[in-house]
């Protein structure tokens, strides 16, 4: 087996949001740290899922990587196909197009991510026209090809988005992301706005496309059943930090962070016979403008000690390629997702 080839290194990414105070006129605006020293490596061809509760910074992370938003600091090193390493966040000017088109994004809401004022054909062809010099016939050929690949009826391409259902719209969005032949696609909750049956279709489509074109995915989601199904590795985020990062089986089988355990216990079980031990977290999600001391999770953690209140845990390797940010990762015996199929196998 060849050594896994990295495609993207995210190094120490931070993102602050300025919060304007409505009462004070001259006071310095407070800032909220939404992303805190995020670092991870992405291997070509894998699917890395990012999970976490609402407001933990998943979407911000995704947008900062594709430069839909500007990160406050940090680097995103992009490994091009011919082996160059480029800081993706510092790309500027005309030359940057070549690389920027190789990282694309699929949005959560297929209703707001498609311009209501353009026909589907124009929506899909837009990135193509922006990046390549092609004749009309070539554009038409590429668009029809990609439309077929994503399961869109080619004869409907001259229609406007309002003529399509949510699932079809998401297919349009996927077609738009694919048309520039990207190597990496960030899927920001790409299926959470869809029906369960449609979700399965779209997930299968994404998987098929991944096999065909060797695409790497960053899959942002809060739906753990889907994440377990599709990802190679999973990163768990809590309040702007990655608290656990591991291969999918390892994480779901044996989580090492109490927050991950709590998330897992919330996954719905299809079997009603199975006894459920749901961990209900006490209290509320801490205010990111004023995060708790030490481990950010300690106010809600059942296993907390004095050390947790005082010391910030580092993200460290506790098993083979299993990273976690908990002082007691080795001692705690945490429960993963009970997986019938895995047990039988």
């Amino acid at each position: 087996m060849t050594k896994p080839k990295p495609i993207l290194d995210v190094i120490d990414m931070n993102k602050d949001f300025q919060v304007k105070s409505k009462t004070a006129l001259f006071r310095k605006p407070a800032s909220v740290q939404v992303l805190n020293q995020i670092s991870f490596e992405l291997i070509e061809g894998e699917t890395l899922s990012i999970v976490g509760e609402s407001g933990c910074g998943k979407t911000t992370l995704g947008r900062c990587i594709v430069r839909g938003m500007d990160a406050s600091s940090g680097q995103v090193i992009y490994h091009t196909e011919d082996g160059q390493q480029i800081d993706f966040l510092k790309l500027k000017g005309k030359g940057s197009k070549t690389y920027r088109r190789e990282i694309q994004m699929i949005f959560q809401d297929p209703y707001s991510s498609l311009s209501p004022r353009m026909s589907v054909f124009d929506i899909i062809s837009e990135p193509l026209i922006a990046n390549f010099k092609l004749s009309k016939a070539e554009v038409e050929e590429k668009v029809t090809l990609i439309a077929e690949k994503t399961g869109l009826n080619v004869s409907y391409l001259r229609r406007y988005p309002h003529a399509f259902s949510g699932g079809q719209r998401q297919r349009i969005a996927i077609a738009r992301a694919l048309i520039t032949q990207p190597r990496l696609i960030v899927c920001d909750e790409a299926v959470s706005a869809l029906d369960v049956s449609i979700q399965a279709q779209i997930i299968n489509l994404l998987k098929d496309l991944q096999e065909q074109f060797r695409i790497t995915y960053i899959f942002i989601s809060h739906d753990l059943s889907i994440v377990q199904n599709i990802s190679d590795r999973v990163a768990v985020m809590h309040l702007g930090r990655i608290v656990e990062l591991a291969a999918s089986e390892s994480l779901f089988g044996q989580p090492r962070h109490p927050y991950t355990e709590a998330l897992m216990s919330a996954v719905p079980q299809p079997d009603p016979e199975l006894k459920k031990n749901r961990i209900i977290l006490e209290g509320e999600v801490p205010n990111p403008a004023n995060p708790p001391s030490g481990c950010h999770f300690h106010p809600r953690c059942a296993y907390r000690t004095e050390k947790c209140v005082k010391e910030v845990p580092e993200l460290r390797e506790v098993g083979y390629n299993h990273f976690t940010a908990c002082h007691y990762a080795e001692e705690l015996k945490l429960k993963g997702v009970h997986n019938e199929l895995a047990d039988e196998a």
């Binding site: 920027r100 949005f107 990609i146 004869s155 409907y156 406007y160 003529a163 060797r214």
Partner: protein
């Protein structure tokens, strides 16, 4: 370079719609048009406005008398309707008017006019009258309707100098209906640029522009008009004066439109589909032209339509106060100056006719704007 694998296949056609009404193929503009078609009141308003503007365009031709003509014999003549049946009960196919004799009211000794049933003047099309330039180009003296000399026709009466009010309302509409259009046009350009800059770039530039707008908007308009119109030198040609007044209006009018544009820019630039275009590598200029502008242009049409009646009223008010258009040029506001004296209103109420036409125009513009707003709103059922 990896390419999408091509395989042999039949070339499918992307259907282009033939002429059809299928909403699935309809662009935003077409949907808007279809909804507008359902709004009867707005359509009637559009028709009336089209009529008013057509009349204004051909004003010199339609008006029986020119701007300069007056007749001191016929001062404060009440409106005379045309008749079909004469004093003897005889029916005439051609409508006619009687010549007027002036006498004195035996009680008040006021000058009054009584029809002289002996002298009939039938109304005629294409009568020779005062000379003018048709559309400013062709010299002619033909007027659409009128009576042969020495007859006179005053459909809406005359004013204190013996000028035909009907003709003057029509001639005045040229200025009263076009000033708002030009004024709003200029404010639109200024508003679009400044509002666009404010909304797209944001930050301290936005703050400065917004504060300036607030300052301009907090000026009391009446003293501002007076000050600005005092700056217009007296005895200047009508065209120059017209230009000055338009600029005065545009100076105040752009702030509203700039705010509409700014708000739309801010809300649209954070839309997912705009961010998607940005990620896809579409340039800023193209994003503005292809995504932002189409996104709010329908709202802009509405805002513009609704800004016009305000300008009509402002022009009328300014001219009424003697700050705007001055004689010999005329506008509806100038005509209403005569209605300033209570005596005039009490004795010669027809001098309020210009008011009616102002109300009609403002109402139709408002109805039209309402209709457009309903049509442009995608969330309305």
């Amino acid at each position: 370079m990896r390419t999408i694998p091509a395989f042999k296949r039949q070339k499918p056609e992307t259907l282009r719609p033939k002429k059809n009404t299928d909403a699935n193929y309809s662009s935003q503009w077409r949907l808007m048009y279809l909804r507008f078609k359902k709004h009867k009141l707005a359509q009637i308003s559009l028709f009336i406005l089209a009529l008013l503007y057509t009349v204004a365009l051909f004003a010199q031709f339609i008006a029986p008398y020119g701007l300069q003509s007056y007749d001191s014999k016929y001062v404060n003549v009440p409106p005379m309707g045309f008749k079909f049946i004469d004093a003897d009960g005889k029916f005439h196919i051609k409508p006619f008017v009687y010549e007027l004799k002036s006498t004195r009211d035996p009680e008040t000794m006021r000058k009054i006019f009584v029809p002289d049933t002996e002298k009939r003047h039938s109304l005629q099309f294409f009568v020779k009258g005062e000379e003018y330039k048709f559309l400013g180009l062709i010299k002619t003296s033909t007027h659409l309707i009128g009576v042969k000399e020495p007859g006179r026709v005053f459909l809406l009466g005359t004013d204190g100098m013996g000028r035909d009010l009907f003709s003057r309302i029509i001639l005045g509409s040229q200025i009263s209906l076009s000033i708002p259009l030009v004024g709003v046009g200029i404010s639109l350009v200024i508003g679009l640029i400044i509002g666009g800059i404010s909304g797209y770039f944001g930050g301290w530039l936005d703050s400065i522009i917004q504060r300036v707008i607030e300052i301009i908007r907090s000026f009391p308009t009446l003293p501002l008009w007076m000050a600005l119109s005092a700056a217009i030198p007296p005895r200047i040609p009508v065209v120059t004066m017209y230009l000055y007044i338009v600029i005065i209006f545009a100076f105040i009018g752009w702030t509203d439109l700039a705010r509409v544009v700014r708000g739309k820019f801010i809300s649209l630039k954070n839309e997912d589909y705009v961010i998607a275009a940005k990620i896809a590598g579409v340039g800023s200029t193209k994003i503005i032209i292809k995504h932002l502008l189409p996104g709010f242009i329908s709202y802009l049409v509405v805002a513009t339509t609704l800004a016009i009646p305000g300008m009509i009223l402002a022009e009328t008010a300014m001219s009424f106060l003697g700050l705007g258009i001055r004689s010999p040029a005329t506008s509806w506001g100038v005509l209403l100056q005569e209605a300033q004296k209570i005596e005039n209103v009490a004795l010669y109420p027809w001098k309020l006719f210009p008011l009616g036409i102002v109300i009609l125009t403002v109402l139709t513009y408002n109805f039209l704007g309402d209709g457009l707003r309903d049509a442009a709103d995608p969330y309305k059922k």
